[in-house]
């Protein structure tokens, strides 16, 4: 076995795993706190990516500066999602939220198609074609940026949940909603906070990960499936579990695709998901490592 090849595949796996983690955090936050599945997750990611594209390529804003505009806009989008889809379905069976968020996703995707057309777009960044050669191992500039911004987003999220009053309320809601109502915590504003947080995380993902690839209206579809795989493997609603599961999945896929063949790759990742569901139905890390 070629040691260099193996080492590069492991490095790739970690880098790809970071993409997956950033994709999945927003989804797992909504599930963890609200126990609702957000099927418009991929479209929120797409929306953020197109926003960054417009700001950078059309309005001439700097790539990093565009985040300052995109994150508040995404928080607003999250709020809108809460008002349109999550609040009205709060006391309904779980499939109502699935259908409502799915509808939001379909509307967003087709709106993007009407506005931007089918020609793929690109987000030019200064890291795009920067590659570091570390003793023959390649590390890519944009991927390093993703790792950095991903760590920053994760630390801020955990700090917010642990150190603020709202964060404490969100954690309480994640544990027991009925008890929240009993002690006077209103779930409705928390729903808005959660959706806003999740949408901002999608904004970080869209801004950081999307420049790796071309942008097109249906780009969220693959993201949402991969995110589901990660969230299910990590334990629904478990943020750190999702990050670990994302890294494991990234490594797994990288090794399967690199040592085996590309056909093996998707098959093995979903097989891994099935296996986890069979052996540990609550995910690899269950709900023990809570929010």
């Amino acid at each position: 076995m070629d040691g260099q090849l193996l080492a590069q595949l492991i490095v790739n796996g970690v880098m790809v795993g970071c993409d997956y983690a950033l994709w999945a955090i927003g989804l797992t936050v909504i599930f963890g706190i609200l126990e609702q599945v957000n099927f418009s997750h991929g479209e929120l990611y797409m929306l953020a990516a197109f926003l960054v594209q417009v700001l950078v390529a059309k309005a001439g804003l700097g790539y990093e500066a565009s985040f300052i505009v995109v994150l508040p806009v995404m928080a607003g989008a999250g709020l809108l999602l809460a008002k349109c889809a999550l609040l009205p379905t709060l006391n309904r069976p779980f499939e109502a939220a699935i259908l409502a968020t799915l509808a939001v996703g379909i509307i967003l995707q087709n709106a993007a198609r009407m506005i931007f057309g089918a020609s793929p777009l690109r987000i030019p960044t200064r890291y795009e074609f920067v590659t570091f050669d570390v003793f023959g191992l390649l590390v890519f500039g944009q991927r390093l940026f993703i790792v950095a911004i991903g760590l920053a987003a994760l630390s801020l999220l955990l700090a917010f949940l642990r150190l603020t009053r709202i964060g404490a309320a969100l954690r309480a809601a994640a544990q027991n909603k009925d008890a929240c109502l009993m002690v006077g915590i209103d779930i409705r504003p928390l729903t808005c906070w959660t959706a806003g947080l999740a949408a901002m995380l999608c904004g970080v993902a869209g801004g950081a990960v999307a420049p790796l690839y071309d942008l097109y209206p249906s780009m969220g579809t693959d993201v949402v499936f991969k995110s589901f795989a990660v969230v299910i493997m990590g334990g629904m609603g478990n943020v750190l579990g999702a990050v670990l599961a994302a890294l494991i999945l990234g490594l797994f896929e990288s090794l399967a695709g690199g040592l085996g063949s590309s056909v093996l790759r998707d098959g093995t990742s979903f097989a891994a998901m099935l296996l986890v569901l069979l052996v540990r139905p609550n995910g690899l890390f269950g709900r023990t490592v809570r929010l």
Binding site: D2, Q4, L5, Q8, L9, N12, M15, V16, R113, G117, A118, S119, P120, E128, F129, T131, D133, L138, F140, L212, Y213, D214, Y216, P217, S218, T221, D222, E253, S254, A256, G257, G258, L259, S261, S262, V263, R265, D266
Partner: protein, 380 residues
């Protein structure tokens, strides 16, 4: 107002009358049905198909239509998947009552449409798909309704194998989409090479895959003399971007869509000098007829025509020519007229052999100094 049985009845009558009137008006149009991907990973090409059709229709109607009738092109989303494509074609045939059906972009979908055209007894023109089975199943002894205006993958794989041998390549690795097109392309080139060039790997990826790190990592250490590509534009655009990040210099060969406007800026980096492709068309070709077509297209749609836009445009013009000679849209007469086609196209004459296959020209193109150049116009 209260709804009575009578008022509902009157409404029903009015609605029925309306259908007949609009039905009569539409019946005068010559209708062409095009199942093509409006959504999904091949939507970029579907957009070009639509644009090519729009330009052809506008030009034909601007000159007074065909036999005094207007022509209309109807596009239905197929996602380039066989099942959706069949549903799109069924709708075009049964609801829109199109006179001519077009094939889809993806070969797998087009192959699925062929029996539907045959059952409906309507002519079908394949203007984009290149799988050889389409020809083998068409014309003599098979499906007489299907006509193809573009060369197939076996013809192209012959050219590709020749070039590889001439170039003195010892090894090749294939990266292809996991479809009839991708798997077929790899198989035909491998067959034509007959073991004279060693195939070190063949990777098949789903056509929505955007991440090529595992494949590129493996190819970087395997160091083939050439990387053979059978994938479409959006996917290759992502592939080429990551290829540049890997700092690789192995030429891309076979059928990378270097003709695509999507990759022009990547070619301009100079990292793909020496890469080559075989395509039925490139908008940079300097033939006089083509320059006129490209100018008209750019004036309308702000970008150059992709191969699929050219071939759809050309096929609609050719269909209009057949309707003119048939004198009607009667399916049998139209089928006969199509078989007797001798149409002067942008790249040369289009005529069909007894498998309803046209032998249009092919282009061999190579990247030089960051720009794609037509090196040779080949007969097929």
């Amino acid at each position: 107002m209260r709804w009575t049985i009578a008022s509902i009845g009157r409404l029903g009558l009015a609605a029925a009358a309306l259908t007949v009137i609009s039905g009569a008006a539409i019946a005068q149009d010559i209708k062409i049905g095009i199942p093509t991907p409006v959504t999904g990973p091949v939507a970029f090409l579907g957009q070009h198909v639509k644009w090519g059709a729009e330009l052809a229709v506008e030009e034909i109607n601007g000159q007074g239509g065909v036999n005094g009738r207007k022509i209309a092109a109807m596009v239905q989303d197929s996602v380039c998947r066989p099942a959706d494509s069949v549903a799109a074609a069924e709708k075009l045939l049964s609801e829109d009552k199109v006179d001519v059906l077009f094939g889809d972009i993806c070969s797998g979908a087009t192959l699925a449409l062929m029996p539907i055209a045959e059952r409906a007894g309507k002519p079908m023109i394949v203007a984009v798909s290149t799988h050889p089975d389409i020809t083998q199943k068409a014309g003599v002894g098979g499906n007489k309704w299907v006509f193809r205006t573009v060369p197939d993958d076996i013809l192209m794989s012959g050219v590709i194998a020749d070039r590889l041998l001439k170039q003195g390549a010892k090894t090749i690795a294939f990266v292809a989409e996991d479809t009839d097109y991708g798997r077929g392309g790899v198989k035909f080139v491998t067959d034509k090479l007959g073991g004279k060039v060693q195939v070190i790997s063949a990777d098949y990826l789903k056509n929505s895959e955007t991440d090529f790190l595992p494949v590129l990592t493996r190819l970087r250490s395997a160091k083939p003399d050439a990387i053979g590509i059978f994938m479409l534009d959006q996917q290759v655009s992502n592939f080429m971007k990551q290829y540049v990040q890997f700092g690789m210099t192995v030429p891309l060969v076979a059928r990378p869509p270097l003709v695509s406007g999507l990759v022009a800026d990547l070619l301009a980096t100079g990292k793909f000098n020496g890469s080559w492709t075989v395509y039925p068309y490139y908008d940079g070709y300097d033939g006089a007829k083509n320059v006129a077509f490209v100018d008209a297209f750019k004036a309308h749609f702000k970008q150059g025509p992709h191969y699929v836009a050219y071939s759809t445009y050309e096929a609609i013009k050719m269909a209009a020519d057949a309707v003119k000679r048939a004198g009607s849209t009667d399916p049998a007469a139209l089928q006969k007229a199509l078989a007797a086609t001798n149409y002067q196209g942008i790249l040369g004459p289009i005529k069909f052999d007894d498998h309803n296959q046209a032998h249009n020209n092919l282009m061999f193109m190579q990247v030089q100094d960051g720009k794609l150049m037509v090196k040779e116009l080949l007969g097929s």
